[in-house]
């Protein structure tokens, strides 16, 4: 199904405010203003798209002229596409003014195809949009029909017949091709299709012929969905929009149960779960939850969803109520058939993973971390924090820096960014500091060990060689400091930094 919005930019503005004079949207191209979009009223006065704005002004004095805002139009189209998600999960944007809905296998839910088309266009039309729709076997054919013969429904294979009488502009050719076609005297698509394809591709390029074939239903062009297609869906429609929290949670529970039923039959579990709340006034809210391991327990699902709902920055606003709630398994994975294990270790691991999932839902998965070793000798990048939910980060082994029996060579805490220390008193060229000031406090060094020289990665050509010292102050605090660069390296004395806190 293709939906074509003939006057999206003007509809967007006139939905918000009333204009006395006919509304025209202007657009600047080649240093001149042109008519970009116009209202039905303006069209009746003889204005047309692409007309120089000065001409339009000369023809009609009273015009409301506003500049084009393509981004706002795109956002609006995106919102409408969101709204259309309630009919089928596969909605495609065809910028700037069309939508494709893949209704294969969805039409019978709304009666017949004709009934569905009528319902969709009427519902969108009642919101103040000029929309035309058509249904055909291929997307391009549907779009052409929506523009030039709205309301047409073509059964699969009948495209050629219905498309043939449409004017050649329905193919959306660029100016050059359009001129060439007109020169050749081809006015309808049917006439063009009668020509030999080799002839056409010679003259007009292969892409034109490919478009023509798709248009006539001879070839198919796959749609690119806006968002990844969910593996499984379970949804609940309400005759009356629901507002109360109790009904919403109750329906989430039934949805989770039915989804888990399907998952169980297929031997799968969900890794990414999405709940979509369609508001009666067209707004759509989505919640996504990631889990560490395939999940198939409705109770756990509901618990995670409720937790996510609780942590929303602005709570779920039902407005005038939700008329459709949908639960999607965006990513489902095979689960290994597990017998309930009496092995307490496995049970414990599962419980910990579930805890990590819950924490990740509440605080975001980037805030619940574990550490994997990195093959780097630079202290701050030797270990990297990764989301604890992700199991894919295979780390190497952690390497001990100290010899057995030695005290720790690396501090337990590293400052996020090494902090510069001042008033450093150190012997030249590579002695440890005997006194330094850090965070407004003067520290007297009583013991020091070093230097441990760590060179930066030469292939990155940045950073100076660091000479690290372990120092102990008079109070017994142990710090990890380094001298950035050597004394003789450049004219000014090197800077000193404090990077870590030993215990």
């Amino acid at each position: 199904m293709a939906l074509w919005f003939a006057r999206l930019p003007t509809d967007r503005l006139s939905r918000k405010s009333q204009f006395d004079a006919p509304l025209v949207i202007s657009h600047k191209a080649n240093n001149a203003l042109y008519v970009y979009a116009l209202e039905a009223r303006a069209q009746k006065l003889g204005l047309y798209k692409g007309q120089p704005l000065a001409n339009a002004r000369a023809m009609v004095q009273a015009l409301s002229i506003l500049p084009a805002d393509e981004r706002a139009d795109a956002r609006l189209l995106e919102t409408i596409a969101d709204w259309c998600d309630r009919f089928t999960p596969l909605v495609t944007l065809d910028s700037p003014d069309s939508l494709f809905l893949d209704i294969t296998g969805a039409a019978h839910l709304f009666g017949t195809e004709a009934a569905m088309l009528k319902m969709v266009t009427e519902k969108i039309g009642s919101c103040g949009f000029a929309v035309r729709g058509a249904i055909a076997g291929t997307s391009l054919a549907a779009k052409a029909l929506a523009r030039f013969a709205p309301g047409t429904i073509v059964v699969c294979g009948g495209e050629a017949e219905k498309i043939a009488p449409l004017p050649i502009t329905a193919l959306d050719p660029d100016d050059k091709i359009l001129r060439a076609l007109r020169h050749a005297g081809l006015k309808t698509i049917g006439q063009a299709a009668e020509r030999l394809h080799s002839e056409l591709s010679e003259r007009l390029g292969k892409s034109f012929v490919a478009r023509l074939k798709v248009m006539l239903g001879a070839e198919e062009q796959p749609l690119q969905p806006r968002r990844p297609l969910p593996d499984l869906i379970s949804e609940q429609r309400f005759a009356e929009p629901v507002v109360t929290q109790e009904i919403i949670s109750a329906s989430l529970k039934t949805l989770a149960e039915s989804l888990c039923g399907i998952l169980e039959r297929q031997g799968q579990g969900v890794r990414i779960l999405q709940a979509a709340f369609f508001r009666a006034d067209g707004k759509l809210e989505r919640l996504a939850i990631k889990t560490g391991e395939p999940l198939r327990d409705p109770k756990v699902m509901v618990r995670l969803l409720n937790q996510k709902l609780d942590t929303l920055a602005d709570p779920l606003d039902p407005g005038f109520g939700f008329d459709l709630i949908r639960l999607e398994a965006v990513l489902a994975e095979e689960t290994k058939p597990a017998t309930i294990s009496f092995d307490s270790d496995e049970n414990a691991r599962r419980q910990i993973r579930f805890l990590v999932d819950r924490l990740s839902v509440r605080f975001g998965s980037s805030r619940v971390q574990r550490f994997v070793p990195q093959d780097s000798h630079i202290p701050e990048s030797a270990g990297v924090a990764v989301p604890a939910q992700e199991e894919d980060f295979a780390g190497g082994a952690w390497g001990l820096k100290r010899k057995p029996g030695d005290p720790p060579r690396r501090p337990l805490r590293l400052l996020e960014k090494p902090e510069e220390i001042s008033s450093v008193l150190a012997s030249v060229p590579d002695g440890p500091p005997s006194r330094f000031r850090w965070r407004q406090c003067l520290h007297e060094v009583t013991r020091a060990e070093g230097p441990e020289r760590i060179a930066m990665e030469w292939w990155k050509k940045q950073g100076l060689t660091r000479d690290y010292f372990r120092v102990e102050t008079r109070e017994g605090q142990r710090f990890w400091l380094y001298r950035d660069g050597l004394f003789e390296q450049n004219g000014s004395p090197p800077r000193w930094y404090l990077q870590g806190l030993f215990s």
């Binding site: 805890l355 619940v368 202290p379 720790p408 690396r410 805490r413 009583t446 605090q477």
Partner: protein, 246 residues
Amino acid sequence: MNKTEQLAELRHSLARYALPPERAPIATGHPQADAVLGGGLRPGSLHEVFATGWSAGSFAALLAMLAAGKKTLFWVQPDYEAMEYGAFSPNGLLELGGDPRGLIQVAARNATEALSAANDVLACPHVGALLLEIEGMPKCLDLVASRRLSLTAGESGVTVFLLRNGAQAQPSAALTRWQVSSAPSPAHDDDWGNPLFDAHLIRHRAGGLGEFLMQWNPEHACFKTADIGAVVRAPAHRPAVTQIAI
């Protein structure tokens, strides 16, 4: 025996089955401290560590490491603490004899979030131990909050260490309270640098108090008596009169 009594008897015997098994105390390895604590820190309870200075907070981390053993250690740290006192470094934990693979860090945005995350973690009995870091004296950490921590810990048996940096002691439900500062390494020790703490047990609901000089032994991953000779040197920030004799 009538029916009611019989039922009560049955209930009672059932409840005994549901009781958590008697948990062994967590020995610190420091003989005097363990003696005062009655064998070690009691698991499934709340222990507070008040740290003076920048690096004394590691005392709580080491205790948590001891308590967690081979199980997962959760470290809940608000962002501000990571900025002020440094972020956890896995290599540092390894150097101290711990295992970075068994650690999960939760970075909370503020103290309130940290507390709620801590309550979640504590509810899971399979967690080894929890280290919760809270700086200063936020309003959300009141007697109710610490009581809740302590109760949840008691139910699940997870030991929780509450590390307070830059805070004054205030009423709480903690079983033990420690005031810890780093101590200078012994004068004769050439191999200096093992964590050494001047730890004061200033509150203990179930026993006596004490002041200990505890040194961490990374090889055996436990505390030991510091080998400092006869007398501890006076820490610079305290007058020499209050020298502690061991």
